[in-house]
Amino acid sequence: MDDIDRKIINILQTGFPICDSPYRQLAAELHIGETELLDRLKKLLDNGTLTRFGPLYNAERLGGALTLAAVKAPAECFDDIAGIINSFPEVAHNYARNHELNIWFVIATETPGQVEQTIQAIARQTGLSVYNMPKIKEYFVNLVFKA
């Protein structure tokens, strides 16, 4: 990854034009040719630096629901519990964290009712109580990972 790749990653995180030749427009801003931009993007996608290139949906406005949940998994069955939680397609993100509440995950479902169902199913299958922390308010963040 060189400086031009870094510039590409930074500029793409701020948005992508919706017009007939969006890459050409971006290439002009980056002072490179459109073909070079397309080639570099393909490489960044192929080597996994960029995972997906497209729309970021507002899941809730589209009818879906999200919540943040956590469990206290005992050390002796930590991997089994993590495995059970990962096996739910409704679990979008899942992280081990250094606290007594040691597994934190995001549940994303198509309808609000399914969030509660998923929480109950995880509680049943793991035998643990599941802490459910849906958002009350989101504070706007300009999410950019500077490359």
């Binding site: 990653i9 890459y23 050409r24 497209g54 949906y57 589209l62 606290h99």
Partner: protein, 165 residues
């Protein structure tokens, strides 16, 4: 709200935009729309806020952001909004939410801080504490030890057929 053509378009585009000279024309071929219609519909979905933005999802670990901490505070309810607003303006804060307190878990303000390593994250947290006057509130810092799973939200048509169901 969405009509059936919007839904079809969202389904076609959700795996990503083609990397080619006329990506919206390419998407149009997949969902039997003209390039003009695709551009008009996406522009309107974005304006309505149903699409937050077009752009990339980066694998932040690959860019060297190896440490992330979820920091939670117990803030008096009346002060959450101004503090949340203040915290979210720092560039290393990647998410900021108010969430309900739980039994034995009194924390109500959450933020995520990403950094190259733990020392950087802790320094950034100290900066937040100073700038926002957070030092006296009870808090917890939960570093991630392992990422088991990370995927984007997937759009499915049935998600919008019965928004209240």
């Amino acid at each position: 709200m969405l009509d059936s053509r919007d839904q079809h378009l969202l389904e076609c585009i959700q795996l990503g935009l083609p990397v080619c000279s006329r990506p919206y024309a390419e998407i149009g071929k997949q969902c039997e729309m003209s390039e003009t219609e695709v551009i008009a519909r996406l522009g309107s979905l974005k304006q309505q806020g149903l699409i937050k933005r077009m752009g990339v999802i980066v694998k932040h670990q690959q860019l060297g952001y190896r440490a992330n901490a979820m920091v939670v505070w117990d803030i008096p309810d009346g002060q959450v909004a101004p503090l949340g607003g203040h915290i979210s303006r720092f560039p290393f804060v990647t998410l900021c939410y108010q969430r309900p307190r739980q039994a034995e878990w009194p924390y109500n303000l959450y933020c995520m801080i990403h950094g190259k390593d733990r020392a950087v994250v802790l320094m950034q947290l100290e900066q937040l504490n100073q700038a926002c006057g957070l030092a006296n509130f009870d808090r917890q810092v939960l570093f991630s030890r392992r990422c088991f799973k990370q995927r984007g939200a997937i759009y499915r048509r049935d998600a919008t057929d019965s928004p209240h169901g």
